[in-house]
């Protein structure tokens, strides 16, 4: 897996280097006015992320962002700055606004592009005396042409050179594997603490956070996959179900942790403890089996029911005890469903 990842890194580096060099070649050999905007557009699109889906979306955002940004710059310069040059003093505010809204809108590339392209044009006009009387509308048009060409070069490179290197499909598999592994470890530690009647201290938090973080990262990868060219949209239903199960598992694990910290009365016998231990072991192994993608699958719910044989519903059990077992059963259901979903995904 490590070697494979390394190869992908080299492929990606080669692809980006070719795209930027190709953009520079067109700019230098065809002597396009503002031609450096072409490799600049390519380089800045790659700044945001390597994944193919993101690149596609960003190329689109870059085009629209530049269009609106340059329009804003043109209007600002011709209507306000030509009337009173002191309007230029608000440029730092534009710069601040660009980043503030970029972060606020969850790194929405379009917003940053609108502000920054406006800022860049206005700044060049102010800083270079040679550009003081430049025709902003004309230069805007030239810049837009370069951005469009840059986008075209980038997309050609993206879909002809090592196309698989920036696809997120293998990342999704890797992330899901890590998620299953974390779940497996987590179940064992929570159950052990439950049986030892130990309150889960806060140093345990990173373990739980890591499960949730994997889910969030996986969800982001999926949103990138949706934008990939050639992605089969009929598979989206399975992906949605997959992430829905991931979310449910996160919730169930969090509930289990809460029960350990609020145990109520304990009426467990030695036999009950053994059952819980066995069940957590089965559950943990089932997640490892999902990770290894074993083809032979025996329903985890059935296995757990076999272990408990009605025990969760015994008369003298306290409600938290029942609830803990119930959450284990629900997690088993999720593992079963997860296996079903995984077998319906072609590249899983």
């Amino acid at each position: 897996m490590a070697a494979d990842k390394n190869t992908r890194k080299y492929h990606e580096a080669f692809k980006i280097a070719v795209a930027i060099t190709a953009g520079t070649f067109i700019y230098q050999f065809f002597q396009l006015p503002y031609g450096h905007w072409m490799p600049l557009a390519i380089a800045f699109i790659y700044v945001g992320g390597k994944t193919q889906g993101l690149v596609m979306k960003r190329a689109n955002d870059r085009f629209l962002g530049n269009l609106f940004g340059l329009l804003f710059a043109g209007l600002f310069a011709s209507l306000l700055m030509s009337w009173d040059y002191r309007w230029g003093y608000i440029l730092p505010a534009i710069w601040f606004g660009a980043f503030y809204f970029y972060f606020l809108m969850d790194y929405w590339y379009f917003i940053r592009q609108v502000f920054l392209s406006a800022f860049a044009v206005l700044l060049v006009a102010i800083m270079n005396p040679a550009h003081e009387n430049l025709n902003l509308w004309e230069t805007m048009f030239d810049r837009m042409i370069c951005v469009v060409f840059g986008g075209i070069v980038l997309l050609i490179c993206e879909f002809t050179i090592f196309r698989e290197s920036t696809s997120v499909k293998s990342d999704i598999i890797e992330m899901a594997g890590k998620f299953f592994y974390d779940c497996s470890e987590y179940i064992i530690s929570v159950s052990e603490r439950y049986l030892k009647k130990e309150n889960i201290r806060y140093e345990f938090w990173p373990e739980l956070a890591s499960v949730s973080e994997k889910y969030s990262a996986g969800k982001k990868l999926y949103s990138s996959l949706e934008n990939e060219l050639g992605h089969d949209i009929t598979q989206n239903v399975h992906y949605e179900k997959f992430y829905d199960q991931m979310r449910k598992i996160c919730g169930l694990l969090r509930s289990m942790k809460c029960i350990v910290n609020h145990p109520g009365e304990y009426n467990m016998t030695e036999g009950d403890s053994m059952k819980i231990r066995k069940a957590s072991d089965v559950l943990s192994k089932s997640f490892k089996a999902l990770l290894e993608q074993k083809t032979q699958w025996v329903s985890v719910r059935e296995k757990l029911l076999d272990i408990f044989r009605g025990a969760p519903y015994r008369e003298n059990a306290s409600f938290p005890e029942l609830l803990f077992t119930e959450k284990m059963m629900e997690t088993a259901d999720c593992a079963d469903k997860m296996h079903e979903i995984l077998s319906s995904l072609p590249h899983a």
Binding site: K9, Y10, E12, A13, F14, I16, A17, V18, I20, T21, T24, F25, Y27, Q28, F29, H36, P39, L40, A43, F44, Y46, V47, K50, P92, W95, F96, G97, F99, Y100, Y102, F103, L104, A120, L123, V124, M127, Y202, W205, P206, A209, S212, E213, S216, G251, R254, S255, K257, C258, N261, H262, F319, P320, L322, L323, E326
Partner: protein, 355 residues
């Protein structure tokens, strides 16, 4: 008056969108070095200075967010500056041979992307190197000149990182704690229907749950993961961390209330005191929020009599086997929440002023 109301609403809205002031801190980190560079440019008028001086530090300050420790932050920003310095110097030297510039650009981009410094500094640095293609003044001496400008920019980024961390970190910690608690309270109000009805229907519970998860991750990043440089900030993060633990417990407790709406009729019928109890929890959460806002111990109202009656009511319904397990789960969630709120109130009695 309208302007005042508008600015207050805007502030509330922005705080809800950015509870940890992360966007504000990020934007400041990116603006301050550029403002510093602008100052240098306006007052010292360095000869042949160009747009690179103004834009580079601002862009590269973003990279610092990728690491939580100071060494990592400095290392990643330095790596990017190094790549830009080498890249633009090569372009300046080779400006007369277009073919060699292409080879140089290819090599710089390729090598920086495969270098151990990682993808992000390489991506930013490549973009900045490309900007240097547009400079009218080229030559090795101009390359050296820009390296000096880049060193100034690097220093400006470091100063900005330290300054923003020193001034904003404690506000960020307090703000994210308030944001986290207010989201939990909002969720509780929306599932139980306590508090103002306008709030009840304002946002879907699902959406608030997503917000809680997102705020929880941000809080963890700001308070637990971030390695602060200044002693005051380290102490504050330790204190805030204790409060954050309670908030994490609250968010886990509320998970048991997911089915409240479905079981509402049953609860109304068999445990009607659940509604006054939920009102009291809402008020106590509001009290905790106020305490976090003002760094003042929360006022504690004794609700034990109400809770006792409610427990008796629940026990009666349970003995009569009138409650399904999902309704019992809700009662359990309430119990967990009450216990955790009590613990946090006790904690804040002594520690609220230290925040």
């Amino acid at each position: 008056m309208k302007i005042l109301t508008f600015s207050r609403d805007l502030r509330t809205y922005l705080l809800r969108c950015d509870p940890g002031l992360l966007c504000l801190a990020g934007a400041l980190r990116c603006t301050l070095p550029s403002l510093g560079a602008l100052f240098v440019w306006v007052y010292f008028k360095p000869p042949h200075s160009d747009i690179l001086l103004l834009m580079t530090p601002g862009f590269l300050a973003i990279l610092a967010d990728l690491h939580h420790d100071w060494k990592g932050k400095i290392r990643i920003v330095f790596a990017a500056f190094l790549i830009i310095a080498i890249g633009q110097f090569g372009i300046s030297v080779l400006y007369q041979t277009k073919f060699l510039i292409l080879i140089w650009l290819f090599l710089v981009t390729f090598l920086s992307f495969i270098s151990p410094s990682g993808r992000q500094p390489a991506a930013y640095a490549s973009a900045m190197c490309v900007i240097s293609l547009s400079f009218s003044d080229q030559g090795w001496h101009m390359g050296v000149n820009r390296i000096i400008e880049l060193i100034i920019g690097f220093i400006a980024v470091l100063i900005s990182l330290f300054a923003v961390s020193f001034t904003l970190s404690r506000f960020q910690m307090r703000s994210i704690l308030r944001g986290f608690l207010s989201e939990i309270r909002f969720y509780f109000m929306s599932v139980t229907g306590s508090g103002k009805p306008a709030v009840f229907f304002a946002r879907q519970a699902e959406e608030i749950l997503r917000n809680i998860a997102s705020v929880s991750l941000k809080a963890n990043n700001i308070i637990k993961k971030e390695e602060y440089f200044y002693r005051e900030n380290i102490l504050s993060s330790e204190k805030a961390s204790l409060i954050l633990n309670y908030l994490h417990s609250f968010s886990r407790d509320t998970l048991f209330l997911e089915n409240f709406r479905e079981q509402r009729e049953l609860i109304e019928k068999y445990i009607p005191l659940t509604f006054p109890v939920s009102e009291s929890i809402t008020q106590r959460l509001a009290g905790l929020l106020e305490s976090l806002k003002k760094s003042f111990p929360p006022s504690i109202t004794d609700c034990s009599a109400l809770y006792e009656k409610w427990r008796e009511e629940y026990q009666g319904a349970k003995n009569r086997k009138e409650l399904p397990p999902s309704a019992e789960e809700i009662v359990y969630g309430f119990e967990c929440l009450i216990k955790d709120i009590c613990e946090m109130e006790k904690h804040l009695q002594n520690k609220a002023s230290e925040l």
